[in-house]
C-alpha cells in the first residue's frame, strides 16, 4: 500500500495510473434478503436479476474501497444512503453449486463490458454516467447448510497500453488555495442541491483563482469551449493518496472515446469528502494529470477485467457460512441459552446454568406430570431428557397432557414415551430426548407367570438400572404408588438424586429423596459414584439431626442433612405438625384438579434446579417453612425436602423428615438385599404378597397408611 507522503516527486516518464479495485462488502441483511427472495420469489428461476449497491467517498484513511450491498439491494428504485453513489448490478443466482462453478464467467464479464461499451458509443453513458459503474454478482445459496458462495465482478474496460501519468498525483491542498477549496466545496454542494441529490458520481469543472464552476458530464460541449485544459471530477471512494478508485476507470475510456482526438491530457479531480467529528474536509482529494491514450474510432469493445480476487489474492469465489446466524435450529438454541443467561446477568449473577443445562434427566412417567416436568426442564435449557412409560395416548389425555394432541390418540394411540420425544423435538430441535416404551415391575404384581414374563421383567429391570445409571436425576412421575418402589430402590443404591411428585385430588407432594452417603464398602455395585456433587457429605453428618434448638413452630425436625432425609416410602404420610390433613395424597386417585399437575410438575423441576445450585447438591440440609425468613442457602433460595401443597387453601408447606430405618424402599436392609441378590430379591418382592417386604423390614403393613402413620411417627421420634 502506498504511503501518504510522496517523497519521490521526480516525474518519471513511465508513471502508470493504477486503480484501487472495489472490495465487495455485504451487510448481514443482504443474505437474509437473498434467502427470502430465493425461497419466495426466485425459487428455481436462474434468470439475471437487477440489484443495487453503493459506494462512499468519505471513509477515513486506511479503509478498503468498498462496494456495499445491504438488504435493500433488491429494491433497485429504493433510496441510496445519503452522500453515497449508487451502482447497479446484475445478480446471477444459480440453483446448484455445479452451475455456480461452470457458469462462464468470462462471457458474463464480456456481456456486461459490451453493455458499457455500447452505452459509451450511444450517448447513454453521458446522460446517465452511473452505467459506467456496474457490477455482476454470481451467487449460489446453499440453504440447507446456509453456505453462500459468491463472486463479484466490477467490469472495467482496458486500454491495451495502460494509462500514463504526466506527473505524480498531488493532494488538492497542494494545488488549490484555501479559497479555491472552499469554492470547490460550495460548487459541489450547489450542484447537488440543483440536481436534488446528495452525491454526483461524475462532473466537469472549471476554476480560476477564486471561483469554481461545476456541471454534469453531459454538458461537456457547452462547458468546454477550449479543450486546452479540461478538468473532470469523479466521486472517488478510494482513500489511497496515489491511486484513484475504480469508478474513474470506465470514465477515462468514455473520455478517450468521445474526446480523445481533441485532448492530449486531462486533469482529474478524485473528489473525496469526509467528515470527522463533525468537521468536513475535501482537501485530501487527489488531482491526477493524465495522458489519455488513443482509442481508435469504431474499434471493437476493448478487453475487460474485473472479477474480484478472493481473500487469498487468487482469482476465485468466496464462501461465507452463515449457519450460526441463519439456521433456525442454531438460532433457537442460542436464543434459549441467551434467555437463561439474561436471568444470570440481571437477576441471579451467581446462578450456575451449566450445572442445570448439562443435567441428564430421567422421567419415569410421561403423563400429566411427565409432560409438565419435561416442558419446565426445556424452559431451563436442559438438553438430555429421557421418558419411560408403557401407556398409549388415550382420548382423555391431550387436554391435560400438553405434549399430546388429538391426532396422537387415533388408531389405538401412540406410545406416550415415543410421542413425547417427537413433540419435544418439534418444540426445540436442540433437545436430546429419548423414549422407552416399557413397564416398571411393581411389588405385588407377580412376574412369574411364565419364563417369558420372568425374563421380560429381568430385561426391564436391567434396562431401568442402566437408564438410572446413565442419568443424574430421576423423576418419579407415575400414577401408582407401587411403581415408584423399584426406581426408588435402584436410585438409592446408585446414589442418584430422586425428585418425586405425586398428586391427590387437590393436594400434592413434591419431594427429593434422601441421598445416601457414598458406600464405603468396596463390594458395592458399580454406579455408586454418583455424578451429583457429593463433596462434603461427611462434614454435615456431624450435625445431629435431633439437636433441635429452641426453634418454635410446627416442624419437629430442622437441619436434617440430605443423607438423612427420607424417601417417598419413609414419610409419605409423615408430615410433622400437619399429619392429619396431609393424607389424601396416597389414595391412588388419578382424578385431580387440572391445574395441580402443572403446579407440581413445575415445582419438581424448580426443586431440582435449587438442589443443583446448592454447593452440596443432594446432600444439602433440608430447608423448612421456618427458614423462609432466613438467609437462603442458594442463589435461588431454599432447598426443601418436601413441598406439600393444598389447592383448596392455595397453600404450600415445606416439611422435612428423616429416613426411616424400617423403610420398605430405602432402609439399609432392603438396599443390602438388592445389592447382594439383585433380581432374585426383586422377583421375590414382585411375586410375594406384601408380607415379604414387611417381614424383611419389620413392618407389617405397606398399603394401609393409617396404621403405618402412627408407627412411623413413633419410630421417627425414637430415631432422634
Amino acid at each position: 500500500m502506498a504511503s501518504e507522503t510522496s517523497e519521490a516527486v521526480s516525474s518519471t516518464p513511465d508513471l502508470k495510473l493504477q486503480f484501487a479495485p472495489f472490495s465487495s462488502a455485504l451487510e448481514a441483511g443482504f443474505w437474509h434478503q437473498l434467502t427470502q427472495k430465493k425461497l419466495n420469489d426466485y425459487r428455481l428461476d436462474e434468470s439475471p436479476k437487477c440489484i443495487k449497491g453503493y459506494y462512499y467517498n468519505g471513509d477515513p484513511l486506511g479503509l478498503p474501497t468498498r462496494l456495499t450491498l445491504e438488504f435493500s439491494a433488491f429494491e433497485v428504485d429504493g433510496p441510496t444512503p445519503a452522500r453515497c453513489c449508487p451502482a447497479t448490478g446484475t445478480l446471477y443466482n444459480t440453483n446448484t453449486l455445479d452451475a455456480f462453478k461452470t457458469t462462464d464467467k468470462k462471457a458474463l464479464l464480456e456481456k456486461e463490458a459490451k453493455e458499457i461499451w455500447d452505452a459509451i458509443h450511444s450517448e447513454a453513458a453521458l446522460k446517465d454516467p452511473s452505467i459506467l459503474c456496474k457490477f455482476i454478482l454470481l451467487t449460489f445459496a446453499d440453504l440447507k447448510k446456509y453456505h453462500f458462495y459468491y463472486w463479484f465482478c466490477f467490469p472495467a474496460l482496458c486500454f491495451p497500453e495502460g494509462i500514463k501519468l504526466v506527473q505524480q498525483p498531488s493532494a488538492l491542498e497542494q494545488v488549490f488555495s484555501a479559497k479555491q477549496i472552499a469554492a470547490l466545496q460550495e460548487a459541489y454542494d450547489g450542484m447537488c442541491i440543483k440536481r436534488e441529490t446528495t452525491a454526483v458520481p461524475y462532473f466537469l469543472m472549471k476554476y480560476t483563482d477564486d471561483t469554481v464552476q461545476m456541471v454534469p458530464l453531459e454538458d461537456w460541449d457547452m462547458f468546454f469551449t477550449d479543450t486546452k485544459k479540461v478538468t473532470v471530477g469523479v466521486y472517488d471512494p478510494c482513500t489511497l493518496s496515489q491511486h484513484p478508485g475504480w469508478p474513474l476507470r470506465n470514465l477515462l475510456v468514455l473520455l478517450a472515446y468521445r474526446w480523445g482526438s481533441k485532448l492530449d491530457t486531462v486533469e482529474v479531480l478524485c473528489f473525496r469528502d469526509r467528515t470527522l467529528q463533525g468537521s468536513r474536509s475535501i482537501q485530501h482529494s487527489v488531482i491526477f494529470q493524465i495522458k489519455l491514450p488513443a482509442l481508435p474510432l469504431n474499434s471493437a469493445c476493448p478487453k475487460s477485467v474485473g472479477w474480484e480476487k478472493n481473500p487469498k489474492g487468487a482469482m476465485g469465489p468466496r464462501m461465507v457460512n452463515l449457519s450460526e446466524c441463519m439456521d433456525p435450529k442454531r438460532l433457537a438454541e442460542s436464543s434459549v441459552d441467551l434467555n437463561l443467561k439474561l436471568m444470570r446477568w440481571r437477576l441471579v449473577p451467581s446462578l450456575d446454568l451449566d450445572k442445570v443445562v448439562s443435567t441428564k434427566c430421567l422421567l419415569l412417567g410421561a403423563g400429566t406430570l411427565g409432560c409438565n416436568v419435561a416442558r419446565t426442564l426445556m424452559g431451563w435449557g436442559v438438553r438430555r431428557i429421557t421418558f419411560v412409560d408403557n401407556a398409549k395416548i388415550s382420548f382423555s389425555n391431550p387436554v391435560r397432557q400438553p405434549l399430546y394432541e388429538f391426532e396422537d390418540c387415533l388408531g389405538g394411540g401412540k406410545s406416550k414415551a415415543l410421542a413425547a420425544v417427537e413433540r419435544l423435538t418439534k418444540i426445540f430441535p436442540g433437545v436430546n430426548a429419548e423414549g422407552y416404551n416399557m413397564s416398571i415391575p411393581m411389588p405385588g404384581h407377580p412376574v412369574n407367570f411364565s419364563e417369558a414374563t420372568l425374563s421380560q421383567a429381568q430385561r426391564d429391570i436391567e434396562q431401568l438400572e442402566k437408564l438410572i445409571s446413565e442419568h443424574d436425576v430421576v423423576f418419579l412421575l407415575m400414577d401408582t404408588r407401587e411403581s415408584r418402589w423399584l426406581p426408588t430402590v435402584i436410585a438409592a443404591s446408585k446414589r442418584k438424586l430422586v425428585v418425586n411428585a405425586a398428586l391427590g385430588f387437590d393436594t400434592f407432594v413434591v419431594m427429593r429423596h434422601g441421598l445416601k452417603t457414598p458406600a464405603v464398602s468396596p463390594s458395592v455395585p458399580a454406579g455408586a459414584d454418583s455424578s451429583t456433587s457429593c463433596s462434603s457429605a461427611s462434614s454435615s453428618s456431624s450435625t445431629p439431626a435431633g439437636s433441635v434448638p429452641a426453634v418454635q413452630g410446627s416442624s419437629l425436625f430442622s437441619n436434617i442433612p440430605g443423607h438423612k432425609l427420607g424417601c417417598y416410602f419413609c414419610n409419605d404420610v409423615v408430615a410433622p405438625g400437619d399429619s392429619t390433613r396431609d393424607r389424601t395424597l396416597d389414595q391412588q386417585c388419578t382424578v385431580s384438579r387440572p391445574g395441580l399437575a402443572m403446579i407440581a410438575g413445575a415445582l419438581a423441576v424448580e426443586m431440582m434446579v435449587s438442589i443443583l445450585q446448592h454447593s452440596e447438591g443432594g446432600y444439602a440440609v433440608a430447608s423448612s417453612s421456618d427458614d423462609r425468613m432466613n438467609e437462603p442457602p442458594t442463589s435461588l433460595g431454599l432447598v426443601p425436602h418436601q413441598i406439600r401443597g393444598f389447592l383448596s387453601r392455595f397453600d404450600n408447606v415445606l416439611p422435612a423428615s428423616l429416613a426411616f430405618d424400617k423403610c420398605t424402599a430405602c432402609s439399609p436392609i432392603v438396599l443390602d438385599h438388592y445389592e447382594r441378590e439383585g433380581f432374585n430379591f426383586l422377583s421375590n418382592v414382585f411375586n410375594s404378597s406384601h408380607s415379604f417386604l414387611e417381614d424383611l423390614t419389620g413392618l407389617t403393613l405397606l398399603h394401609q397408611e393409617t396404621q403405618a402413620a402412627e408407627i412411623w411417627d413413633m419410630s421417627d421420634d425414637e430415631s432422634i
Binding site: E27, A28, K105, P317, V320, N321, E324
Partner: protein, 256 residues
Amino acid sequence: MMHEMSMCGLDEKNFYCCCQLLLQQSEQLRDGWSWEAVQGSEEGYLKKTALRSVVIDSSSVWDHEGCGSDSEPHTSCHSQPDQPDEEEEQAAAVASGDTDSIKGDIDDEDEDDGVCAVSEGSSQMLQYEYHILLSCSYSTPVLYFRAFTLEGRSLSLEEVWSSVHPNFRLRLQNSPLNTITLQEHPLLGQPFFMLHPCRTEEFMRPVLQAAQDQHRPVNYVLSWLSVVGPVVGLDVPLQYSTQLHPAPPPSSGKPD
C-alpha cells in the same frame, strides 16, 4: 417541547421528535444517521452504519484507532475471529477447491496491470450497523446493533463481547447500566444484539432531572446515546452538544 417531556419515559411522539432533532444535527455534522421507515406503518428507527478495522487477538478484539492517519491496521491481525471449527475449515477447503476449478475460464495469466496492489484483508474489517428503536414496554430508546465481516457474516455474541473494549467489558459486567443480549429485531425480524433497556430509565432520570432544574432543553435520545453508544464503539461527537444547541443559558455551562 423537549423539556416538557414527562420525567418517566419516552412516548412514541417524543421519541420521534427526539429522532428528528438528532437527524437534523446529524445532517449538519454529517454523522451518518438516517431514518428508516417501516413500509406501511408509521414506525421506524434511526440507523447508522460504520466500518472499522479491528485488531484481533485471541483474547480481545477492539478498535484500532482507525482514523489515526498513519496506522497500519492490518499488521497485527489474525485471519479470523476465533471460530474455525472443523466444519468451517472443511467448508473453506471446499471453497478453495472451487476456486481452482473455477478460475480456468478467466485469463488471469495476463494480469491486469491497471490494478494497484492492495494489501486488503477483508476479515479485519468489521461493519457495524446501529439501530435506535423505541421500546414501548420500557418507554425508553433501545440500541440494537450487529457487527459483521465484509462477507456479511454476523459476529457471535462471544465475538461481540470480545469486541467491547476491555475497559468497558469489566465495567459492563459489573455495572447495572446495560447488558448485551441477542434479540430478534422487532421490526426486521432478524437477529440483532441489543443493550438491554431495563436500567435505562434509572440512569436517565438524573440527566432529565438536572436538565429540568436548569430549564435546559435536553434531547433524551441524544443524551442516552452518548452514554450507551461508546460501549459498543459508537461515537457520538461532542459537537452535537457544543455546536448545535440553541445557546444554553450561560449559568448552566458546566465544564467537563
